[in-house]
């Protein structure tokens, strides 16, 4: 079966087998390796993407059910020659260590700031509670997000 959807603003078509996840299709069929595959059970957030405006775990989206949707992955954030402001803030505040969790955190942060341009600390913690960083980078992550408070992404 083939699905047709918009990925990072481009119309795409991808072959899909059985009930496999959107995460699998993004990585293995479309070569978009930003979203990471770790737990496959919605616990870690490393596969976070935005589907039709909703922040979701792409491991929990059935690819066949993504027909006609609009998907935004971390690859869709930066432009040709400029990092997305969230990515820039992460770099400046040392919020990236091994980098495995980073795409998920960047997408979740971009989604947060789009809806709440000046989040409080509890709001930031709540909004990022579905993302796990095993390099204990939470302090730096928090500072990176706080540095953007007020600036629209």
């Amino acid at each position: 079966m083939n699905v047709h959807f918009t990925v990072n603003g481009e119309e795409r078509e991808a072959a899909v087998q059985g009930p496999e996840s959107l995460l699998f299709v993004l990585r293995e069929r479309l070569g978009l390796l930003g979203a990471k595959d770790a737990c496959e059970q919605g616990e870690c957030g490393s596969c976070t993407v935005i589907v039709d405006g909703d922040l979701v775990c792409s491991c929990l989206v059935m690819a066949a059910d993504a027909e006609g949707t609009e998907v935004l992955t971390v690859e869709g954030l930066a432009t040709e020659d400029e990092l997305h402001p969230v990515q820039q803030a992460f770099v400046e505040h040392g919020a990236v260590q091994c980098g495995f969790c980073t795409p998920g955190f960047v997408v979740a942060t971009a989604h947060l700031l789009e809806h709440q341009p000046a989040p409080t600390e509890p709001e930031i913690r709540e909004a990022l509670s579905g993302n796990i960083c095993r390099c204990t980078g939470y302090g730096a992550l928090l500072r990176a997000v706080q540095s953007m408070g007020g600036a629209s992404p």
Partner: protein, 268 residues
Amino acid sequence: MDIDRPRSLDETLAAAGEYPDATLLAGGTDVMVEVNFRTRQVRRVISLRGVADLSEWNGTRIGAGVTYRRMELGPIPALAQLARTVGSPQIRSVGTLGGNLGTASPAGDTHPFLAACDASIEVRSRDGGTRILSWSEFLTGPKLNALKPGEVITAVVLPEHLPARQEFGKVGVRSAMVISTVSACVMRDEEGRTTVALGAVGPTVLRAARAEEMMSAESHPSAEALAEFSRLVSDEVRPITDHRSTEAYRRHASGVLARRLLERCLAA
């Protein structure tokens, strides 16, 4: 694998009637975990994504497709409280009320709320019309519900008047992204009529009937009455020991949690 994408409730019921073995797919937050771990075979899917009828929320009638995100922002205090505790923003943005009832986990966090206010579940099918089941008729055991082949959960129907004082709480190993060790919902109306429902401490959610009866007779509960309420709740739950907790801890936590929620109702 085949997938149907109905655009209306009638089309959904037609597809479910034609393929009673198909997997209904709402937010996918339970279904896809089973798919990824290969514990669920999926040969045909009926996607509810495009079925706007199921996402309608009119006062006390809440469509099966309403997400935790909407419950969080909605007007019903205990429903908003419980929705906030579910999973993470990623889970709450797509996970639905209907999916929580479809899965029927003993730890389903919507269940204590539905039991405490005596909600009904509306189910429909192409051939069998509409059935309205009470929460206790619908939830029949651990991961078991009363759905017949071809039936779709369409909505939850709450009583017209909900007590203004209602509190939900859960106990788990941390505050985010956690399956309940015990969950509870307490409601108390102006006359003092009190209900208390507990999740994850029995094969399905349960009501602590003796604790309710005792507390409903107290207009200004004393410290002793609160202690007795707590003791009765601990006595009435039917928890088991598993990898998440022990029977003894769950029993104790049930009483403490129910009492705290009642105290919040009384303070409100």
